[in-house]
């Protein structure tokens, strides 16, 4: 047994991602080596052939994500793992997967950028690339784990969401999370919910590859199952054939948007600590959330009360929840391992009277609890 169900182990973040993928039923992995994500590919290269699952190292990242889409269309749950420079190359395929509504999981273990940047050090510089990296309007789901257990759980959730919403899902651990080791208690196999591959429930002649269902998402057939369909990155009608008719183009684009925006409740995942009773709140995600928790404990000893607001799902951004909970605060501190990316979203959802204070760290090291404490003490 590859996933140690029910056992307690010392596990690395990237290892937990690989085990999460196995738990979720990954059938195909295609990737290209890049630090700091390589452990994921290496471990899956060891595990997947033992299970008769397909693993391949492609010639580059564009080929990797292209192969993933082909693999999923032929009936295998697919995942790749990369980091900033590779993530940039994958934007082409990511857009294609959004447009053609093919589920896949893309893990981007974030390192310092731009360009080759700091290959072995942490950053959160890709959160906006995750949202807007590929061209054109498109739906995005992105999740950011903060510990090893979440690497496992959110990888499974990423697979589930990608199947449920028929769209690529991006997992965004930063290098600190990918490379850290923690004690992890694995759940029991029967306690983990796995969304199976979708199977159309209509006869072949009735099948529409992009059926306009109430949920805006319809079950996707796989190649070789008798449902012969066409897939193209050109804007297409509900059968998948290219179209330029205004009504069909608009219907497609609206559905791509609405399949996310009308089901936000299923996607939102936010953790709040003492937010209601604090006038100062730290907004943090990924590894920085850990420092925020430690900072809160230090401040508690100093009899200073601060809240923490942590989005687990980064995209779609929890607009409504931020508005409801943070719009009445005096100060929101947004520590990030970049020069300020998610802070713009916080500013967008809060009134001018709320002071939104950035805290950046861009030297490749983690933001320490003390830095956050200092920042809080300055504004409190």
């Amino acid at each position: 047994m590859i996933v140690p169900w029910g056992e307690t182990r010392l596990v690395q973040g990237n290892e937990a991602v690989a085990l999460g993928a196995i738990a979720a039923g990954i059938g195909f992995f295609a990737g290209y080596p890049i630090t700091p994500s390589t452990e994921i590919a290496e471990l899956l290269a060891r595990y997947m052939p033992q299970l008769d699952k397909k693993w391949v190292q492609m010639e580059d990242e564009i080929a990797s994500i292209s192969a993933l889409i082909g693999g999923r269309l032929a009936g295998c749950k697919s995942m790749t793992a990369t980091s900033g420079p590779g993530f940039s190359l994958m934007q082409e395929g990511l857009g294609y997967a959004c447009m053609t509504e093919v589920p896949l999981v893309l893990v981007n273990v974030m390192r310092g950028g731009p360009s080759t940047g700091l290959p072995t050090q942490a950053a959160q510089g890709d959160v906006m690339q995750a949202r807007w990296g590929t061209h054109g309007d498109h739906p995005v789901i992105a999740l950011a784990p903060s510990n090893v257990r979440e690497c496992f759980e959110l990888t499974i959730r990423a697979f589930n969401l990608s199947e449920t919403f028929r769209t690529p899902v991006i997992l965004l651990p930063d290098e600190v999370i990918g490379h850290m080791r923690e004690k992890m208690e694995f759940p029991l196999e029967e306690d983990v919910h796995i969304v199976p591959l979708s199977v159309p429930d209509v006869p072949v002649e009735w099948y529409e590859h992009y059926h306009e269902s109430a949920s805006n998402v319809s079950p996707m057939a796989s190649f070789g199952t008798g449902y012969r369909f066409h897939v193209t990155g050109l804007t297409h009608d509900k059968h998948g054939f290219p179209t330029r008719k205004e009504n069909e183009v608009i219907a497609k684009m609206e559905r791509l948007k609405h399949k996310i925006t009308r089901r936000l409740d299923e996607l939102e995942d936010v953790q709040m600590h003492d937010v209601a009773e604090s006038s100062v709140v730290i907004f943090a995600y990924g590894s920085v959330y850990r420092s925020a928790l430690a900072a809160q404990a230090i401040l508690k000893k100093k009899r200073k009360k601060v809240g923490i607001f942590r989005p687990v799902t980064l995209w779609p951004f929890p607009d409504k929840t931020v508005k409801e909970n943070l719009d009445s605060k005096n100060v929101i501190i947004v520590p990030e391992l970049n020069q300020g990316q998610m802070i713009h979203e916080v500013e967008r959802m809060t009134m001018d009277s709320v002071r939104v204070v950035p805290l950046h760290r861009i030297d490749g090291y983690e933001i320490t609890p003390e830095e956050i404490v200092d920042s809080v003490m300055e504004v409190i």
Partner: protein, 280 residues
């Protein structure tokens, strides 16, 4: 008397998707006909065929045929196809691509598909230029030729697709033309049957762009050029080297038995299982 419908029609999305996008005199339709005849003669079922393509005139072909069809991004047809074939090895995967699509932007993918020897048939329709974007030069534009981006003549040497694929490790490499259709039908049949990576380069006219820019005349004149400027392998043998200098050779250049990627991967899985068993 009822009109008989050619059997090719059962492989086409004839009612829904036609007329097609190709210009009058284009060679791509002939290649499509040849693919269908080859598929029919070897008895592949439509449900089991996946046709992938990239971007360009040739890459519009999948929309017209009633297979599982995948029109992807520019140059990536073979990368998508690799995923399809690995995920479901029972499927018969073919990739149709133009010369720019397969050899410029997709150059990296095609050499690695050949090296891996993945069981896919690549059909490269070579019309010596990028047709869809208005006739820019491609990696197969002959030296000296005029295109919309070589107004003073092409200064770069061109690829010999067949030599490139031979060197990269393909199991089957052939070159045909859209004039020599029976020969092309046979080449495609052999390529489809071949285990491992097979490549068929098909020379085709682009009267709208390349032909016009190089004053090669209309579709008929360009077809005559294919007839007169190409020789087959037995003709080559009977000619003196200087006679064959300016001719393009048609024929099957590589036909070797080598283990495909799929077969090697299956063996790998068995090895991995034994290793896991031994490690317990």
């Amino acid at each position: 008397m009822a009109a008989t419908i050619p059997y090719e029609y059962k492989y086409l999305r004839a009612k829904k998707r036609f007329p097609h996008v190709w210009c009058p005199g284009c060679g791509i339709g002939i290649v499509m006909g040849s693919i269908i005849r080859a598929v029919d003669s070897i008895g592949w079922q439509k449900d089991d065929i996946v046709m992938v393509s990239g971007i360009g005139c040739t890459s519009r072909m999948p929309v017209y045929v009633d297979f599982n069809t995948l029109h992807t991004t520019h140059g990536r047809g073979l990368a998508f196809g690799t995923g399809v074939k690995m995920a479901n090895p029972e499927l018969n995967v073919m990739a149709v691509m133009g010369d720019g699509d397969s050899l410029a932007i997709g150059g990296n993918h095609i050499i690695h598909a050949a090296r891996r020897n993945i069981d896919i048939t690549a059909i490269i329709v070579n019309n010596n230029n990028y047709g869809m974007t208005g006739g820019q030069f491609s990696p197969t534009t002959p030296a000296g030729a005029r295109t919309s981006t070589t107004p003073y003549g092409m200064i770069e040497p061109c690829f010999d697709v067949c030599k490139l694929m031979d060197g990269a490790g393909a199991s089957f490499v052939a070159r045909g033309t859209v004039y020599h259709v029976t020969e092309l039908d046979n080449m495609l049949q052999k390529a489809f049957r071949k285990r491992g990576f097979s490549v068929v380069e098909v020379l085709a006219p682009c009267p709208t762009n390349f032909g016009r820019a190089n004053r090669q005349g209309g579709p008929v004149e360009m077809m005559k050029l294919l007839k007169e400027n190409t020789i087959n392998l037995s003709q080559l043998k009977s000619m003196k080297p200087d006679q064959a200098e300016d001719k393009v050779v048609r024929g099957i250049f590589v036909d070797r038995d080598s283990i495909s990627y799929g077969e090697r991967y299956e063996a790998l899985c068995e090895k991995a299982k034994r290793a896991a068993e031994a490690g317990k």
